[in-house]
Symmetry: C2
Amino acid sequence: MRHDIAWPGSVRPGGRTARVRESVLQVAGDLLADHGYPALDLAEVAATAGVGKTTVYRRWRTPAGLVADLLVEMAEQSLPRADTGSLLDDLTANARLVAGTLTDPRQGNLFRAVIAAATGDESTATALHTFYDIRLTEWAPCVEDAVARGEAPPGTDPRAVLSAVSGPLYYRLLASGDPIDEAAADAAARAATIAAAAGAFVS
Amino acid sequence: MRHDIAWPGSVRPGGRTARVRESVLQVAGDLLADHGYPALDLAEVAATAGVGKTTVYRRWRTPAGLVADLLVEMAEQSLPRADTGSLLDDLTANARLVAGTLTDPRQGNLFRAVIAAATGDESTATALHTFYDIRLTEWAPCVEDAVARGEAPPGTDPRAVLSAVSGPLYYRLLASGDPIDEAAADAAARAATIAAAAGAFVS
């Protein structure tokens, strides 16, 4: 067997390995956004990305493997937490970021496709939960800092607060179909801030 | 063509048409819950339900048609709104109902499968949005009554309040994988009630 890609990480970041990954994940993301998980075919990804089929099969193995690595890349490229000095402003930034992502045509479809894939595949579900764990961990200090500033009582659960911000927006995307606009984002942030201040998320 | 099923509704409720529908939707729901949307095969549904294949193809036509009718039946069989005289208690009942549904092994898998199917099919998405529209409309009077009682300010948007209750629970189911327990349900209801009282959902 030819080893044209050494893995893991024997080529420096930005080198050929990184370029191959970038191309492959870009194509995989496009296919998912345009046609959903059932259309994610490794041979087609390889051909469109201009990468050897053997390379793609050896490194990512299955469509689920591709989605898992795409989620790793999405977490790597996500924006850092806001740090405005106010819980309301931090959560509003978070809510607008989530709303912007979910309503972006490519990103919204991509999230829908990945979430749908996770409902039918345990390893994809694990990769998806890891993605959200990274995002929730990144933003948790917004709530911890708010507790330190006295904006919410000690014992306030940061993940519960952040889930109260994102939840209504995901519910619109995946369940009700109600519009995800700035008013919905701001209301989610406002509601979570008020409830957190009143101790609703003390666990 | 043989017309062994007259449709719509020329046979009385509880008659043969209703029995056939009940059997077919039961089998379709089982298949979805156990194996997901890709496994929903009309011929297999017909065989398992003991119904003629022609009947199933003529009446439901496609897997998406079956899912749409299943969502109609799920809406028909859903519980009515709570009416406790208190917004917190009504929303707590709503949150516990949603949490109980999403954590029930069959129902939780069924919702996951239907939501996943809706990401890839426009007619299924429309049927799903109709299902949630019916549920949100059923429960909206809880918020309207609370406004009338002075528990929340005039102009409070009932759908926004109810989305704030369900949203964090669906976010756990479909995104983060965090546990959906009674504490999470009660916190969602408590947070939405406090935020509604403070005017966070005035549109």
